[in-house]
């Protein structure tokens, strides 16, 4: 049993792995060049949707299965988990896309007319049918990151502001910065916009299924909405393009024209770390365990992947589902 571990990277993965290790009695030091979770990490820009069933449309099966652990895990850490499900809608001319989405996913039911009005009255102004994924949830990602960090500090985790490679047992959770050790890792750019509008009220994440401009809108409360997210095969960070922002805003406007008068509060961009199959990996490479490749599923899959990584580190379960060995 490992007694002390240094975790490199205090983003979503590092914080979740630390939480799992501390609960197993391991002393944890987190090392990150930044003092606190913030705009430098891609989890800062996340939607915070815990939507394993919707993600199952394009993601591999483990995402749907393991993602179902996430809501309970976050709640157990004391994070506010809003369990009101999510809704999927299409524009009128794409109606058949909704049928296809229904065929390829589970955990939903079709809601129309009065039922939709009860769930989401402002959406029902403009849409007459939606798929309702009742068991999905969402969280505020920034609040969750800050909460997790605070909770770890209270539990005795040490935080070091440094980028230097540590000695001893290391769990590397640096995301895209670990490309120097993980040649298969690539960045997938995502762009997002935050709006504030007093004219629209939404209680749960809404997804717009669109053949070219897919969109999700996550309500953050107080009239604040997060619009996400593009997915571009590029490692560029920090620069949202006018085209992407325009597409996100146009899609939101099509979803409800009241968004046209919303205040633009924030525009953000970052690159998600991903492996070729877009699934996460727990990779043992010499003395280091790499936990990486969470792609667009940081908040959804980090709980399950952190549990696996902690299992590998403590030798509780040495070859879990996403385990890889790298002898290169």
């Amino acid at each position: 049993m490992t007694e002390a571990v240094t975790i490199r990277g205090a983003g979503i993965v590092g914080l979740c792995v630390a939480t799992e290790l501390i609960s197993r009695g391991v002393a944890v030091t987190l090392r990150d060049p930044a003092p606190s979770p913030g705009a430098h990490g891609c989890s800062w820009w996340a939607g915070g949707m815990l939507a394993p069933f919707c993600e199952g449309f394009t993601a591999e099966e483990p995402v749907m299965r393991l993602g179902q652990e996430a809501a309970d895990w976050w709640q157990a850490q004391g994070v506010e988990v809003i369990r009101r499900g999510s809704l999927m809608v299409t524009l009128e001319r794409d109606r058949r896309e909704l049928d296809q989405f229904a065929r390829r996913t589970t955990g939903h039911r079709l809601v129309t007319g009065a039922d939709l009005t009860v769930l989401e009255p402002h959406l029902a102004d403009r849409h007459d049918r939606a798929l309702y994924f009742a068991d999905e949830a969402h969280i505020d990602p920034r609040a969750a990151l800050l909460h997790l960090r605070k909770r770890l500090e209270d539990a005795g985790a040490r935080f070091e502001q440094s980028d230097a490679a540590p000695t001893g047992p290391v769990i590397d959770c640096r995301g895209l910065a670990a490309q120097d050790s993980l040649p298969d890792l690539r960045g997938v750019k995502g762009e997002m916009v935050v709006l504030r509008s007093a004219d629209v009220t939404l209680s749960r994440p809404i997804r717009l299924l669109h053949p070219r401009f897919p969109l999700y809108i996550v309500p953050r409360g107080d009239g604040v909405f997060m619009l996400g997210a593009t997915q571009i095969e590029s490692e560029e960070k920090g620069r949202a393009s006018a085209r992407s922002v325009m597409e996100l805003l146009s899609a939101a406007y099509a979803l409800h024209p009241a968004f046209g008068e919303a205040e633009v509060m924030e525009i953000g961009a970052d690159a998600r770390p991903a492996f070729p199959d877009n699934l996460p990996r727990v990779t043992r490479k010499g003395e280091t365990i790499h936990v990486n490749g969470l792609f667009r599923h940081g908040f959804l899959l980090s709980p399950a992947v952190a549990r696996m990584a902690a299992g590998v580190a403590t030798r509780e379960n040495e070859a879990p589902e996403f385990y890889h060995e790298d002898h290169g």
Binding site: R186, G187, K189, E233, E235, P276, N278
Partner: protein, 256 residues
């Protein structure tokens, strides 16, 4: 097998590389279909300092010919600049030229297309123009130096198949020796087989494969359909016969 600008290709299938669930599934689609050309967009992915390089390296690892495109370009200038960037990035003079004329339907801009094709051909590019099946436009593109034509079957991403069979037949008849590739609009393998039966040389697919529930299986389905359609075309099919129109009555009616 088709020859584009003196390069012989091993397959009648070209695959686009956008919108797949993951690069691993994209690679599997190439493997199962035997597609030998990958089209790659550069306009949006390039960013600053080749930020799309990791993905392009994965495309390179497929071991197929890379045909960069100018997807997302709405003007001649944008398309020409993107083509020049693509030539540097992929070290190829091939360019699939798209000049989009309509933002919603992504219909080609025929006027801009001819202009850009002329500029790029003069600059040493080997141009694969994404065009409509309009005969006059295609003649202008050939005059501009294009030695391949890529007419649409239907607007990009619609899956509607071959919308104008007459126009496509006419194009084949007027350009018997030029490689003709159906680009855009296909959704089903049967539509690709039909394109082969019309004597077309190849098809390019993206959405039909990438957005299928099982992209790799769909890619293979298309590859087989292309083979079937091509065999049928080469085998000189029978002429259809209209038995609904009665012939002269025969004594005793035994053969009517």
């Amino acid at each position: 097998m088709p020859i584009y600008y003196d390069t012989e290709i091993k397959s009648r299938l070209m695959l686009g590389t956008a919108q797949y669930p993951s690069p691993a599934i994209l690679a599997e689609a190439f493997k199962r279909s035997g597609a030998d050309i990958a089209t790659v967009s550069v306009r949006r992915e390039a960013g600053d300092e080749r930020a799309g390089q990791a993905f392009w390296d994965m495309i390179g690892d497929l071991g197929v010919h890379v045909l960069p495109n100018t997807a997302g370009c709405h003007s001649v200038r944008e398309a020409v600049t993107t083509a020049q960037m693509a030539r540097e990035l992929f070290d190829t003079s091939w360019i699939k030229l798209e000049v989009i004329g309509h933002a919603d339907t992504l219909q080609p801009d025929p006027f801009g297309l001819v202009e850009a094709a002329r500029i790029l051909t003069d600059d040493g590019f080997q141009v694969f123009p994404y065009c409509t099946e309009d005969l006059v436009l295609c003649e202008r593109l050939v005059e501009a130096g294009c030695r391949v034509l890529m007419p649409w079957g239907a607007p990009i991403g619609t899956g509607l198949g071959l919308n104008n069979i007459y126009g496509l037949r006419s194009l084949r008849a007027h350009f018997p020796d030029l490689p003709l590739v159906i680009d855009a609009g296909l959704g089903l393998p049967s539509q690709a087989a039909h394109a082969m039966e019309l004597g077309y040389d190849a098809v390019l697919l993206n959405t039909a494969v990438a957005k299928a529930g099982d992209p790799a299986a769909m890619a293979e389905g298309f590859a087989r359909a292309l083979e079937a359609g091509r065999l049928g075309f080469k085998a000189d099919p029978m002429e259809p016969r209209d038995m609904a129109a009665p012939s002269t009555p025969v004594l005793g009616r035994a053969f009517t």
